[in-house]
Protein backbone atom coordinates (compact mmCIF):
# COMPACT_ATOMS: atom_id res chain seq x y z
CA UNK A 1 0.00 0.00 0.00
CA UNK A 2 1.32 3.43 -0.88
CA UNK A 3 0.36 6.44 1.21
CA UNK A 4 -0.01 9.46 -1.04
CA UNK A 5 0.61 13.05 -0.07
CA UNK A 6 -2.63 14.31 1.50
CA UNK A 7 -3.79 10.85 2.58
CA UNK A 8 -4.31 9.96 6.23
CA UNK A 9 -1.08 8.44 7.51
CA UNK A 10 -1.39 4.99 9.06
CA UNK A 11 -1.93 5.04 12.81
CA UNK A 12 0.38 2.95 14.96
CA UNK A 13 1.48 2.30 18.49
CA UNK A 14 5.06 1.13 18.97
CA UNK A 15 7.29 0.67 22.00
CA UNK A 16 10.47 2.61 22.56
CA UNK A 17 13.61 0.99 23.95
CA UNK A 18 12.21 1.23 27.49
CA UNK A 19 8.88 -0.31 26.53
CA UNK A 20 6.84 2.88 26.59
CA UNK A 21 4.29 3.02 23.79
CA UNK A 22 4.21 5.94 21.37
CA UNK A 23 1.65 7.01 18.79
CA UNK A 24 1.86 9.79 16.21
CA UNK A 25 -0.34 12.86 16.50
CA UNK A 26 -1.38 15.28 19.23
CA UNK A 27 1.03 17.78 17.73
CA UNK A 28 0.93 20.46 15.04
CA UNK A 29 3.30 18.22 13.07
CA UNK A 30 4.86 14.80 13.60
CA UNK A 31 8.01 13.56 11.89
CA UNK A 32 8.16 9.80 11.46
CA UNK A 33 11.60 8.69 10.36
CA UNK A 34 12.41 5.08 9.58
CA UNK A 35 16.03 4.57 10.51
CA UNK A 36 18.41 1.98 11.91
CA UNK A 37 21.78 1.37 13.54
CA UNK A 38 23.87 -0.09 10.76
CA UNK A 39 23.18 1.99 7.66
CA UNK A 40 25.76 4.68 6.79
CA UNK A 41 23.11 6.89 5.22
CA UNK A 42 20.95 6.76 8.35
CA UNK A 43 23.98 7.42 10.52
CA UNK A 44 25.20 10.28 8.34
CA UNK A 45 21.83 12.04 8.59
CA UNK A 46 21.19 11.15 12.22
CA UNK A 47 22.64 14.23 13.94
CA UNK A 48 20.78 16.54 11.58
CA UNK A 49 17.45 14.94 12.45
CA UNK A 50 18.14 15.08 16.19
CA UNK A 51 19.12 18.75 15.86
CA UNK A 52 15.89 19.41 13.99
CA UNK A 53 13.90 17.72 16.77
CA UNK A 54 15.41 20.11 19.26
CA UNK A 55 15.00 23.16 17.06
CA UNK A 56 11.27 22.51 16.51
CA UNK A 57 10.37 21.19 19.96
CA UNK A 58 9.22 24.58 21.21
CA UNK A 59 6.78 24.73 18.29
CA UNK A 60 5.28 21.44 19.39
CA UNK A 61 6.74 19.24 16.66
CA UNK A 62 7.23 15.60 17.60
CA UNK A 63 9.88 13.35 16.07
CA UNK A 64 9.55 9.57 16.24
CA UNK A 65 12.40 7.36 15.03
CA UNK A 66 11.43 3.83 14.05
CA UNK A 67 13.77 0.89 13.44
CA UNK A 68 11.98 -1.71 11.29
CA UNK A 69 14.93 -3.89 10.26
CA UNK A 70 15.07 -7.65 10.69
CA UNK A 71 17.37 -8.00 13.67
CA UNK A 72 17.61 -11.74 13.12
CA UNK A 73 19.76 -11.22 10.06
CA UNK A 74 21.12 -7.86 11.16
CA UNK A 75 22.03 -8.12 14.85
CA UNK A 76 23.27 -4.55 14.94
CA UNK A 77 19.61 -3.55 14.72
CA UNK A 78 18.57 -5.57 17.76
CA UNK A 79 16.60 -3.94 20.56
CA UNK A 80 19.69 -4.27 22.75
CA UNK A 81 21.78 -2.37 20.22
CA UNK A 82 19.03 0.25 19.92
CA UNK A 83 18.93 0.60 23.69
CA UNK A 84 22.70 1.05 23.83
CA UNK A 85 22.51 3.98 21.43
CA UNK A 86 19.69 5.58 23.40
CA UNK A 87 21.55 5.10 26.68
CA UNK A 88 24.65 6.53 25.02
CA UNK A 89 22.74 9.76 24.41
CA UNK A 90 22.56 9.51 20.63
CA UNK A 91 18.81 10.13 20.50
CA UNK A 92 18.75 12.85 23.13
CA UNK A 93 15.06 12.70 23.92
CA UNK A 94 13.76 11.48 20.55
CA UNK A 95 11.88 8.20 21.08
CA UNK A 96 13.54 5.30 19.25
CA UNK A 97 10.78 2.81 18.47
CA UNK A 98 10.97 -0.84 17.52
CA UNK A 99 8.77 -2.08 14.64
CA UNK A 100 9.34 -5.74 15.36
CA UNK A 101 6.57 -7.02 13.08
CA UNK A 102 7.54 -4.54 10.33
CA UNK A 103 3.82 -3.82 9.91
CA UNK A 104 4.26 -0.07 10.39
CA UNK A 105 7.04 0.13 7.80
CA UNK A 106 4.86 -1.83 5.39
CA UNK A 107 1.84 0.38 6.12
CA UNK A 108 3.90 3.46 5.29
CA UNK A 109 5.48 1.72 2.31
CA UNK A 110 8.84 2.76 3.70
CA UNK A 111 11.71 1.86 1.40
CA UNK A 112 14.97 2.90 2.97
CA UNK A 113 16.71 4.00 6.11
CA UNK A 114 16.27 6.84 6.39
CA UNK A 115 12.81 7.42 4.91
CA UNK A 116 11.04 10.43 6.39
CA UNK A 117 7.30 11.12 6.63
CA UNK A 118 5.82 14.35 7.98
CA UNK A 119 2.24 14.39 9.25
CA UNK A 120 0.20 17.49 9.98
CA UNK A 121 -2.06 18.06 12.99
CA UNK A 122 -4.88 16.17 11.27
CA UNK A 123 -2.64 13.16 10.65
CA UNK A 124 -2.41 13.73 6.93
CA UNK A 125 0.85 12.95 5.11
CA UNK A 126 2.35 16.23 3.95
CA UNK A 127 5.98 15.33 3.11
CA UNK A 128 7.81 12.12 2.31
CA UNK A 129 11.39 11.47 1.29
CA UNK A 130 14.96 12.36 2.19
CA UNK A 131 15.93 14.76 4.99
CA UNK A 132 17.88 16.93 2.55
CA UNK A 133 19.74 16.79 -0.73
CA UNK A 134 23.13 15.47 0.42
CA UNK A 135 23.93 12.97 3.15
CA UNK A 136 27.57 14.04 2.98
CA UNK A 137 26.97 17.72 3.64
CA UNK A 138 26.04 18.50 7.26
CA UNK A 139 25.48 22.15 6.31
CA UNK A 140 22.28 21.04 4.57
CA UNK A 141 20.76 20.67 8.07
CA UNK A 142 17.83 18.49 6.90
CA UNK A 143 16.63 21.37 4.75
CA UNK A 144 13.84 19.44 2.98
CA UNK A 145 12.45 18.50 6.36
CA UNK A 146 12.80 21.96 7.88
CA UNK A 147 11.13 23.54 4.85
CA UNK A 148 8.27 21.04 5.08
CA UNK A 149 7.78 21.72 8.79
CA UNK A 150 7.91 25.48 8.29
CA UNK A 151 5.26 25.20 5.58
CA UNK A 152 2.97 23.00 7.66
CA UNK A 153 3.32 25.18 10.74
CA UNK A 154 2.58 28.27 8.63
CA UNK A 155 -0.45 26.69 6.96
CA UNK A 156 1.19 26.24 3.57
CA UNK A 157 1.79 23.20 1.39
CA UNK A 158 5.36 21.88 1.56
CA UNK A 159 7.32 22.37 -1.64
CA UNK A 160 8.58 19.89 -2.56
CA UNK A 161 6.09 17.59 -0.91
CA UNK A 162 8.01 14.52 -1.98
CA UNK A 163 11.63 13.65 -2.72
CA UNK A 164 13.19 10.26 -3.47
CA UNK A 165 14.22 8.50 -0.26
CA UNK A 166 17.95 7.78 -0.21
CA UNK A 167 19.59 5.12 1.91
CA UNK A 168 19.88 1.43 2.65
CA UNK A 169 16.98 -0.81 1.76
CA UNK A 170 14.84 -1.84 4.70
CA UNK A 171 15.84 -5.32 5.80
CA UNK A 172 12.61 -7.24 5.49
CA UNK A 173 12.15 -10.63 7.04
CA UNK A 174 12.64 -13.45 4.55
Amino acid sequence: MTVAIGDPAPAFALPDTAGTMHTPGEAPATVVVFTCNHCPYALAWHDRIIALAHDYADRGVRVLAINPNDAGRYPRDSIEAMRARVQGGEFDGVPYLRDESQEVARAYDAETTPDVFVLDAAGLLRYRGAPDADYEDPSQRAAFLRDALDAILDGRDPEPAQTPPVGCSIKWRE
Partner: protein, 121 residues
Amino acid sequence: MHVELLFWDGCPSHPRALADLRAAMAGLGLDPSTVAIREIDTHERAARERFVGSPTIRIDGVDVQPTGDEPYGLTCRVYYRRDGRISPTPDPADVRDALRAAATAIDVHTSAVQTDPTERR
Protein backbone atom coordinates in the same frame (compact mmCIF):
# COMPACT_ATOMS: atom_id res chain seq x y z
CA MET B 1 48.13 -5.28 -9.09
CA HIS B 2 44.67 -6.80 -8.69
CA VAL B 3 42.03 -4.23 -7.82
CA GLU B 4 38.51 -5.42 -7.14
CA LEU B 5 35.26 -3.86 -6.07
CA LEU B 6 32.67 -6.08 -4.46
CA PHE B 7 29.13 -4.77 -4.18
CA TRP B 8 25.60 -5.68 -3.17
CA ASP B 9 22.88 -4.22 -5.32
CA GLY B 10 20.67 -3.43 -2.31
CA CYS B 11 23.01 -0.60 -1.40
CA PRO B 12 23.15 2.43 -3.72
CA SER B 13 26.72 3.46 -2.96
CA HIS B 14 28.77 1.32 -5.34
CA PRO B 15 28.57 3.57 -8.44
CA ARG B 16 30.06 6.41 -6.42
CA ALA B 17 32.72 4.13 -4.94
CA LEU B 18 33.64 2.80 -8.38
CA ALA B 19 33.93 6.32 -9.77
CA ASP B 20 36.16 7.37 -6.86
CA LEU B 21 38.27 4.23 -7.27
CA ARG B 22 38.74 4.71 -10.99
CA ALA B 23 39.63 8.38 -10.50
CA ALA B 24 42.24 7.43 -7.91
CA MET B 25 43.73 4.82 -10.25
CA ALA B 26 43.87 7.25 -13.14
CA GLY B 27 45.53 9.81 -10.89
CA LEU B 28 48.29 7.32 -10.11
CA GLY B 29 48.80 6.29 -13.71
CA LEU B 30 47.02 2.97 -13.30
CA ASP B 31 44.52 1.66 -15.82
CA PRO B 32 41.01 2.26 -14.38
CA SER B 33 39.50 -0.31 -16.73
CA THR B 34 41.26 -3.15 -14.93
CA VAL B 35 39.02 -3.00 -11.85
CA ALA B 36 37.37 -6.37 -11.31
CA ILE B 37 33.75 -5.77 -10.33
CA ARG B 38 31.92 -8.57 -8.57
CA GLU B 39 28.37 -8.68 -7.25
CA ILE B 40 27.63 -10.38 -3.95
CA ASP B 41 24.01 -11.42 -3.99
CA THR B 42 23.50 -14.09 -1.34
CA HIS B 43 24.31 -14.39 2.33
CA GLU B 44 26.19 -17.60 1.59
CA ARG B 45 28.38 -15.86 -0.95
CA ALA B 46 28.92 -12.96 1.44
CA ALA B 47 30.27 -15.37 4.03
CA ARG B 48 32.39 -17.20 1.49
CA GLU B 49 33.88 -13.95 0.20
CA ARG B 50 34.33 -12.46 3.72
CA PHE B 51 32.10 -9.62 2.55
CA VAL B 52 31.23 -7.23 5.39
CA GLY B 53 29.24 -4.79 3.29
CA SER B 54 28.87 -2.84 0.10
CA PRO B 55 31.02 -1.47 -1.34
CA THR B 56 34.22 -3.32 -0.50
CA ILE B 57 37.44 -2.46 -2.32
CA ARG B 58 40.40 -4.82 -2.15
CA ILE B 59 43.84 -4.30 -3.60
CA ASP B 60 45.79 -7.51 -3.98
CA GLY B 61 43.33 -9.00 -1.51
CA VAL B 62 43.79 -6.30 1.11
CA ASP B 63 40.78 -4.17 2.12
CA VAL B 64 41.33 -0.42 1.79
CA GLN B 65 39.90 -0.01 5.28
CA PRO B 66 40.26 -2.59 8.07
CA THR B 67 37.06 -4.57 8.51
CA GLY B 68 37.40 -5.08 12.26
CA ASP B 69 34.89 -7.53 13.67
CA GLU B 70 32.10 -6.64 11.28
CA PRO B 71 29.89 -9.65 10.49
CA TYR B 72 29.66 -10.91 6.92
CA GLY B 73 26.40 -10.09 5.16
CA LEU B 74 24.38 -8.20 2.61
CA THR B 75 24.39 -4.67 3.92
CA CYS B 76 25.73 -1.19 3.29
CA ARG B 77 29.13 -0.67 4.77
CA VAL B 78 29.95 2.18 7.13
CA TYR B 79 33.11 4.14 6.35
CA TYR B 80 34.69 7.04 8.17
CA ARG B 81 36.09 9.96 6.25
CA ARG B 82 39.35 11.47 7.45
CA ASP B 83 37.42 14.37 8.95
CA GLY B 84 35.36 11.94 11.03
CA ARG B 85 32.17 12.02 8.97
CA ILE B 86 30.31 8.78 8.43
CA SER B 87 30.01 7.84 4.78
CA PRO B 88 28.74 4.96 2.61
CA THR B 89 31.99 5.08 0.60
CA PRO B 90 35.64 5.07 1.60
CA ASP B 91 37.56 8.31 1.74
CA PRO B 92 39.14 8.79 -1.71
CA ALA B 93 42.40 9.67 0.05
CA ASP B 94 42.38 6.25 1.77
CA VAL B 95 41.79 4.55 -1.58
CA ARG B 96 44.59 6.52 -3.20
CA ASP B 97 46.99 5.72 -0.36
CA ALA B 98 46.14 2.02 -0.50
CA LEU B 99 46.75 1.96 -4.25
CA ARG B 100 50.02 3.81 -3.83
CA ALA B 101 51.18 1.46 -1.07
CA ALA B 102 50.37 -1.57 -3.19
CA ALA B 103 52.18 -0.10 -6.19
CA THR B 104 55.22 0.66 -4.05
CA ALA B 105 55.24 -2.88 -2.67
CA ILE B 106 55.18 -4.26 -6.19
CA ASP B 107 58.06 -1.97 -7.23
CA VAL B 108 60.13 -3.04 -4.21
CA HIS B 109 59.38 -6.70 -4.85
CA THR B 110 60.25 -6.38 -8.53
CA SER B 111 63.47 -4.56 -7.73
CA ALA B 112 64.42 -7.18 -5.17
CA VAL B 113 63.86 -10.00 -7.63
CA GLN B 114 65.84 -8.25 -10.34
CA THR B 115 68.81 -7.69 -8.03
CA ASP B 116 68.66 -10.97 -6.11
CA PRO B 117 72.23 -12.36 -6.28
CA THR B 118 70.99 -15.88 -5.62
CA GLU B 119 68.78 -15.83 -8.65
CA ARG B 120 69.72 -18.44 -11.20
CA ARG B 121 69.02 -18.16 -14.84
